[in-house]
């Protein structure tokens, strides 16, 4: 009775109970892998013309250098390896791309064609704080350090105890 009343007051909490953390966790896996692969398409396009895109091998230029960064970065995000660091780098890359390529062409992101850059920039900013989540190489590594490092004073134990 009490629980039912509480649930009626907070529909979000009731939904949480039905869905559980499991579904949220698995959706985070889907989100991370799909977003990483979508992002790496841009690298593939610049490096070998993935799906008929424009190749850019003009290497000292920033636009060409973005190719390998996007390919490797996107795949690392999808694999969940060094997720926070990689997401931070890619977030910065997208901010630079937005202000160099798109911002001069119009004020709003849907005018100037930089919508995707904005989406990826803020998504990666969130991933920096969120971490890789389940089913990632980061999670595997942390599970290993957690079991091998037993001393509670060791800083690695503290890190492993935080949410991956």
């Amino acid at each position: 009775m009490l629980v039912a009343q509480e649930n009626r007051m907070k529909p979000g909490r009731a939904l949480d109970k039905v869905l559980g953390d499991k579904l949220t966790g698995s959706w985070l896996v889907v989100l991370r892998i799909a977003a990483g692969l979508l992002f790496s398409q841009h690298g593939g396009e610049k490096l070998w013309g993935f799906a008929g895109g424009r190749i850019d091998h003009n290497f000292p230029s920033l636009h060409a250098l973005a190719g390998p960064i996007e390919l490797v970065g996107g795949l690392l995000i999808a694999a969940g390896l060094f997720t926070r660091t990689v997401a931070f780098i890619l977030c910065g890359e997208m901010a630079v791309a937005y202000f160099m390529d798109w911002a001069p062409k119009g004020f709003f992101p849907i005018n100037n064609g930089g919508e995707e850059a904005v989406l990826f920039c803020y998504l990666f900013l969130w991933l920096v704080t969120r971490g890789a989540g389940p089913l990632s190489i980061d999670a595997l590594i942390h599970r290993r350090t957690e079991t091998s490092v037993q001393r509670p004073s060791d800083h690695r134990t503290v890190n492993a105890a935080t949410r991956v």
């Binding site: 529909p11 979000g12 799909a34 799906a51 919508e115 803020y122």
Partner: protein, 140 residues
């Protein structure tokens, strides 16, 4: 460092929610009133599939994105927007090409994934939902 960064997760999620809802609402305005003409796009890029949906979906986009921007009824409105994004990918982008980047489907797939996450896990710390919840809890 990791603890500090992780403590910011609800705020970063709110920032993501607010920015995405704002940009999404512009698509609603474009569909309904023809505002915000496309001035530039990537070489070989095509239009965002949201712009090719029937006009009545513009109301869903505008109202849903407005609610999501404020963080009011976050979960249902995020679910509605996620479904609109998915529909636009399936109906408009998917027939164009297999690779999402060629079909212009990257944006709507990202919208779908992120909005679906909000629908499942809520919209973060800075939202009217959260404000009302704490106020109600304080009164009780």
């Amino acid at each position: 460092v990791k603890l500090t960064v992780t403590a910011w997760e609800p705020h970063a999620r709110s920032i993501l929610r607010i920015i995405l809802a704002f940009v999404f609402s512009l698509h609603g305005l474009r569909l309904l009133y023809g505002l915000f003409p496309q001035l530039a796009r990537r070489p070989g890029g095509v239009s965002v599939p949201l712009d090719s949906l029937p006009q009545f979906t513009g109301y869903i986009m505008l109202i849903g994105a407005g609610l999501l921007f404020l963080g009011l009824l976050t979960r249902p409105s995020a679910l509605a927007l996620a479904l609109v994004s998915l529909a636009s990918y399936v109906l408009v982008a998917a027939p164009r090409a297999l690779a999402p980047i060629r079909a212009g489907g990257n944006e709507v797939l990202l919208y779908f994934l992120v909005f679906m996450y909000f629908a499942l896990d809520g919209g973060g710390s800075w939202s009217l939902d959260r404000l009302l919840e704490t106020r109600r809890a304080g009164r009780a």
